[in-house]
């Protein structure tokens, strides 16, 4: 069933969109990731203009993170103060990101920068996940070997210290502000929530306990992507609601199957699968950058 997207002004198969949303929802149910970093490149592949894929991707992440964060609030695994600081950084970052996006659009390099960001971060995260899950699979026979809760490093020596009770931390506000800022910029440019970058940063950089990391990151992501969505809608009119609704419908159903399926499979194997998938998406995007394109010319609407 073909459907005409009013903002993207392309006609696509509605079932493909619901399927894509479902696939990404399945991922998020299986692996506990938001899926924004997968949905945006997948939308590129099926021919949605990058600017619209990015803005609508952000809108879709709002839906999946809201449903996630509600569950975490119930379990009291959200550090609201830390989330607030990350959010403050994130909003400034998001504003900066939309501004950077405008400049990139003017010089005609949006596609390049978005693709480069994707190749870099997907490659990094995919490699890290693969390495970690292979290691985990090898020593899965002998559990134990606990790490320390967190290590004190340079981050803890900065001024303006604040107590984060839920995380059990007493650190400067600047590191979380900067993490939030960086994630906000990426969210605006790449159309992702940034959970896949923020979660490692919270654990390894800020030293937050794993228990509150996912809930807090989802809390922050909800608001940053919400802000990004509105910013993109106001500045560029690039949020396609028809597209977002179809993706969300698929995502909601997919997440349900993902959760039940995830309970039956082994976590380490799942993570290897996710890592391989992430690397595959990364590889496809990287090839597009390095191989001689089919057509050297491309058309951009409007005069910049």
């Amino acid at each position: 069933m073909q459907i005409f997207l009013p903002i993207a002004e392309v006609s696509v198969n509605a079932f493909i969109l619901v399927g894509l949303g479902g696939l990404v929802g399945l991922m998020s149910g299986l692996f506990g990731v938001g899926g924004g970093f997968l949905i945006t490149p997948l939308l590129f592949f099926i021919g949605i203009p990058p600017a619209i894929a990015v803005a609508t991707g952000a809108n879709q992440v709002v839906a999946s993170s809201v449903s996630g964060v509600l569950a975490h609030v119930k379990r009291k695994s959200v550090d609201f103060r830390m989330g607030g600081v990350l959010l403050a950084g994130g909003l400034v970052g998001s504003w900066l990101g939309v501004w950077v996006f405008t400049i990139l659009q003017q010089v005609g390099q949006v596609d390049l920068v978005v693709q480069l960001c994707y190749v870099f971060f997907l490659g990094l995260i995919g490699a890290m996940m693969l390495q970690e899950s292979v290691r985990a699979l090898r020593r899965s026979s002998k559990p134990g070997h606990r790490k320390r809760l967190h290590q004190h490093n340079w981050v803890h020596r900065w001024p303006v210290k604040v107590k984060f009770r839920a995380s059990g931390l007493y650190i400067s506000v600047f590191p979380p502000l900067l993490v939030g800022l960086a994630v906000g910029v990426l969210a605006a440019i790449m159309g992702v929530g940034g959970g896949f970058i923020m979660v490692p940063a919270m654990i390894y950089l800020l030293g937050m306990p794993t228990k509150v990391v996912v809930g807090t990151s989802l809390f922050q992501i909800t608001f940053v992507t919400a802000f990004t969505t509105v910013m993109h809608a106001v500045s560029y009119n690039t949020v396609d609601m028809m597209l977002a609704v179809l993706l969300i419908i698929g995502g909601v159903v997919g997440a349900q199957f993902g959760t039940t399926l995830g309970a039956r499979l082994r976590a380490e194997q799942l993570r290897i699968l996710l890592a391989l998938l992430v690397l595959a998406v990364c590889g496809k995007l990287a090839l597009d950058l390095f191989l001689t394109p089919d057509d050297l010319y491309s058309i951009q609407q409007g005069i910049t």
């Binding site: 009013p6 809201v66 009119n237 609601m241 491309s298 058309i299 409007g302 910049t304």
Partner: protein, 279 residues
Amino acid sequence: MRAWTAGLMLLVLTCAASAQSLVPQTDAGSLPVEATPTADPPPQETVVAGLSSDSVAITASFDGSEILIYGAIKRETPIPDGPPVQVIVTVEAPSSSVTVWRKERKAGIWINAESVRIGAAPGFYAVATSAALDDILLPEWDNRYRISLSHAMRAFAGQVAVESAVPFTEALIRIREDEGLYRLDEGSVSLIDQTLFRADVSLPANLVEGAYKTRIFLLRNGEVIDVFVAPINVRKVGLERWLYRLAFDQPFLYGLMSLSVAVFAGWGASAAFRKLRRP
């Protein structure tokens, strides 16, 4: 008149395939050399035409559309001798500005390097003819009426910084041809007895909205002897229109609405999951 056109439509619709074979074959070498565009006698032959619809509605399930352009050649005198009359039909979307980029390899990766800005290029342009375009249209008449694809775009915006803009404009035409947005269908206008003609122009699914223009050219000896212009209004309707207008007229409200849809869907999903898990 109405009854006549309806009858004609029925006729051409039912025997479209056989009408195709009735198209007179033009002899390329038969264009008389003495034909001069300046000495125009009052037109002895004029076009009377109609469209199957003067508006196209883009609905949510829009998947392209077909427009039938039909008509007749009206003349007071008998059919003149010499090469037969020819018809060119063009359908043109409103123009907008575009930037054409060329990629270059820098530091191993392909990035957009040079660009040419084109002030106005139609979002859609279809040319249907009754015979090979070069055989029935003289270049000076093409220049005057801007009929062929290469004349579709005009006005470079700002300074042209590249050595030659030609590859860029050619690329624009080629890319839009690949996307089905620019099209030259030679011989697709059926002409019966130098009097009746019809052309089917299919509009692709990726249409932009606006006031489209249909032009019908009557040609003899490579010269345009009459032009008929009719508008086609292409617009989004229903939900499509409502969303589109809201997104552009009330972007803040639209943004908030997309958000609330997402929040509601997320909340609804988590609530539904909880119910399903604990039956």
